[in-house]
């Protein structure tokens, strides 16, 4: 089979699995059978994806684009129809992401079997996971932005269903609503961006199409003629379209200022968090930005990079003070997504995707480890209650440690032997160095912040991840009861962790050394800043020696020193005036929730009350007025009915009654009276009849 057919099959399998499980449900088989059935479906998807990956990489590497006409929405200047097109699109990025998504999805499915043990709606949970996987694969396979948008919304609804899976509880109810609304804001930008692209930039929504012209990838051909750092006034519609489309990514990938839903999404079951934060939901935003990468003008690039920078700094600082283990990981995800978005903004298409893949593995593993700890700790998520779990849960602790090192970018000094996070983050920082220098060369000296930011935050990342590890697994147990009950999880839970951790160790290295040159996974046009690449690396290696040689060790050592005895030292530091306020500010997520409450929620409420008043007085008034007229008319008709129709009926009844009351006196049983009346009547009759009778006898019958 050709890669595109394999990938279509890989996409269809989870959809079929979802349909079968939802339609047949518990009547046909028990949850155990269904769970392994869904694992089988997504496993089949994995096999297809891997075969497609191998085939495609072994082949010429030419993108395969199929676009079918779906809807005609207008006519071109030459009279031919203008169509919205859909179809599969396969290039190296597609097969890479298919492999990544299906591997992680399969492992999360297996993990869910253990984690959701005993949940009364486990079958439905597995079905939703199938839907989630299907939606994400649909996004990756889509050849048209419109098709992307459809699956984009499917991802939205799947995440809504999964985050709010425990809908009996208040927290998940609010969290899934928040995720949905926040994503809506971004999706609005996506829709507007598509509209601008289609109507103002003349772009097809198709990525690349042989029949109908070059598609949006073709647009870059024109753009390459423009100086990347001189955004002319002629392409400001393109800038707007790029920023609009990127807004969709901001919603899905939880970038500043739409980031608040992601930490709240922790209310969902932990398998959901592990897949949301790695392979499916947040990856979709980065994927979209990478797909529209050729469209982004220099101004849009700057916007994207700024958003990424703000997000990565903000989230990393917040992650340093959170005590809920899942919250720490959530902010860590935000920060790492910031890295990817910054890389895209800085022009490093390849390293953004590379970091997306490496991050997906170690972050999924971290979440699964956190889930195992939470599972073992009877759903206690506060790290202040943990401590000393290393001996109780050795496998989980080992996986967590490996992934902590991976996300920290650990490497062996002065060699290229490193965990996966090192390679991808290293590439991103190199790209930002390049970008910062390019900005400075155009008079924007502050552009250097684009590499100082991520460089410093790389230390912070190592620090807060060490903090999470130490607080959870090392030190003395802080909650004796919890510690006594903790135990290693069963194999369906630790097996995926081990697989993911081994991926976290090897994937970066294998891509870098074995899996050919990762630069080749990107379209050639995706590297507009490349001429200065080597120069950037020259400068970068100074950083690399500092950061990845010893820097990660310094951060990790600091984390150990501060937290190995629990929060005793940290709480003293946090009590120092000045730091206490900052700590409070960071602990409350920089007050964004409160800010949005004040601005958006109150504004919404005020608007609602105005609209409510309009509804109550104007709309309801009209309805009530109509009702009032109807009622008055009813009274009128009723009165007529009562007076005249009923009056006639009642009048005839009353007349009959009166007549009866007169006549009844003659029926008193007075027999002689009866006889008298009889005689009188007969004689009267005779007296009247006699003249006629006599006339008849004497004169004959009257003739006519």
């Amino acid at each position: 089979m050709t890669p595109e057919n394999l990938l279509v099959l890989a996409t269809a399998l989870p959809a079929i699995g979802f349909a079968i499980v939802i339609l047949l449900g518990a009547r046909v088989a028990n949850e155990k059978v269904w769970s392994w059935f869904t694992v089988g479906m997504v496993g089949g998807s994995l096999v297809c994806s891997v075969i497609a990956y191998v085939n495609f990489m072994a082949g010429s590497g030419e993108p395969v684009s199929i676009a079918w006409n779906w809807l005609q929405i207008g006519v071109n200047a030459d009279g031919s129809g203008r169509y919205l097109q859909i179809g599969p699109y396969v290039d190296k990025m597609t097969v890479l992401l298919f492999a990544m998504v299906t591997i992680i999805s399969t492992l999360v499915h297996i993990y869910s079997i253990g984690y959701m043990e005993g949940d009364s709606r486990k079958t439905r949970f597995m079905a939703y996971m199938q839907l989630f996987t299907f939606s994400m694969l649909g996004i990756v396979l889509g050849n048209s932005l419109l098709q992307l948008y459809i699956f984009w919304e499917l991802v939205g609804i799947s995440s809504y269903l999964l985050i709010g899976f425990w809908y009996e509880k208040r927290g998940p109810q609010l969290a899934c609503k928040k995720a949905f609304v926040m994503n809506r804001i971004g999706d609005m930008g996506f829709a507007v961006g598509m509209g601008i692209l289609f109507f103002k930039c003349g772009g097809d929504l198709v990525l690349r199409s042989a029949e109908s012209g070059p598609g949006i990838f073709g647009t870059i051909m024109d753009r390459l003629a423009i100086d990347p750092l001189n955004a002319g006034a002629d392409n400001w519609w393109l800038t707007l379209a790029g920023i609009g489309l990127f807004m969709g990514a901001m919603g899905k990938s939880a970038q500043f200022p739409l980031q608040t839903w992601l930490p709240d999404a922790m209310e969902g079951p932990t398998p959901v968090s592990s897949i949301v934060h790695s392979a499916t939901m947040v990856a979709a935003g980065v994927y979209l930005t990478a797909r529209i990468f050729p469209l982004l003008t220099p101004a849009a690039h700057l916007f994207v990079a700024t958003i990424g920078l703000i997000t990565l700094i903000m989230a990393a600082l917040i992650a340093c003070v959170q005590t809920d283990i899942k919250k720490v990981l959530a902010y860590s995800t935000l920060s790492q997504l910031g890295y990817m978005v910054l890389a895209l903004g800085a022009g490093s298409y390849t390293y953004a995707m590379f970091h997306l893949v490496t991050h997906a593995f170690f972050k999924c593993c971290l979440f699964q480890c956190a889930g195992s700890v939470i599972h073992a700790a009877h759903h206690e998520q506060e790290m202040t209650k943990y401590g000393g779990l290393l001996r109780k849960m050795p496998i989980t602790a080992a996986c967590f440690a490996v992934c902590t090192l991976a996300i920290a970018g650990a490497s062996i000094p002065y060699t290229e032997m490193a965990l996966s996070g090192y390679y991808s983050k290293d590439g991103i920082i190199a790209a930002t160095v390049n970008y910062g220098d390019a900005l400075a060369a155009h008079g924007m000296d502050w552009g250097k912040v684009f590499y100082w930011g991520p460089t410093i935050i790389a230390y912070v990342t190592a620090f807060y991840m060490t903090r999470a590890f130490v607080l959870t697994f090392l030190g003395k147990p802080r909650d004796r009861h919890l510690h006594d009950h903790a135990h290693e999880v069963n194999w369906t839970m630790w097996f995926p962790q081990v697989v993911l951790a081994s991926f976290a160790v090897f994937i970066g290295w294998s891509f870098f050394k074995v899996g050919a040159n990762i630069h080749e996974t990107a379209p050639e046009m995706a590297q507009p800043f490349d001429p200065e690449h080597d120069l950037a690396h020259g400068f970068h290696f100074v950083h690399a020696a500092l950061l990845h040689g010893f820097g990660w060790m310094i951060s990790i050592g600091l984390g150990f020193a501060l937290y190995v005895n629990g929060l005793s030292i940290a709480s003293k530091i946090a009590a120092i005036p000045g730091i206490a306020q900052i700590h409070w500010w960071l602990y409350n997520k920089m007050g964004f929730d409160g800010l949005y409450d004040i601005i958006a929620v109150n504004l919404g409420k005020a608007l609602s009350s105005i609209l409510g008043a309009f509804d109550r007085y104007v709309v309801d008034g009209a309805v009530n007025g109509a009702a009032w007229i109807g009622r008055e008319l009813g009274f009128l008709v009723g009165g007529f009915d009562y007076q005249y129709v009923d009056g006639t009926v009642r009048g005839s009844g009353r007349a009959a009654l009166r007549l009866g009351s007169i006549l009844h006196r003659t029926q008193a049983g007075n027999i002689r009276m009866y006889v008298l009346i009889l005689f009188v009547a007969v004689f009267t009759g005779l007296a009247i009849a006699t003249p006629f009778a006599l006339g008849w006898v004497w004169f004959g019958l009257p003739s006519h």
């Binding site: 009844h664 029926q667 008193a668 049983g669 007075n670 027999i671 002689r672 006889v675 008298l676 005689f679």
Partner: protein
């Protein structure tokens, strides 16, 4: 010569007596007597009409004499007997109920 008119006059007088009896008597037996008088007034009429009917000339010329009126009279006598029997039975029950046969006492309808 006694003609049809005399019979009719007699009949009318009998009828008048009967009617007067019914209207004035309170005694049920008396009323029954009045009824008998009226019936007999009718009988007199019927017999007289039979005697003076217009077919008399045909009888004189040898046709069989008509007996229609007589037959009616015989039926009325039978009828009167039956009626008297029923009426007396009613009066007996009436007496058992009211211990009298004064028909003024029978005004029990609440008219």
């Amino acid at each position: 010569m006694i003609g049809l008119s005399h019979f009719l006059a007699l009949s009318a007088i009998l009828f008048g007596c009967g009617a007067a009896t019914i209207l004035t008597k309170r005694n049920a037996i008396g009323i029954l007597m009045g009824v008998e008088l009226i019936l007999n007034a009718a009988n007199v009429n019927l017999v007289a009409f039979n005697l003076y009917n217009w077919a008399g000339e045909a009888v004189a010329q040898g046709a069989a004499p008509a007996v229609d009126g007589l037959m009616f009279a015989m039926f009325i006598i039978v009828l009167a007997a039956a009626e008297a029997a029923i009426a007396l039975a009613i009066f007996l029950n009436f007496y058992n109920h009211f211990s009298t046969i004064d028909i003024e006492r029978a005004r029990m309808l609440r008219g």
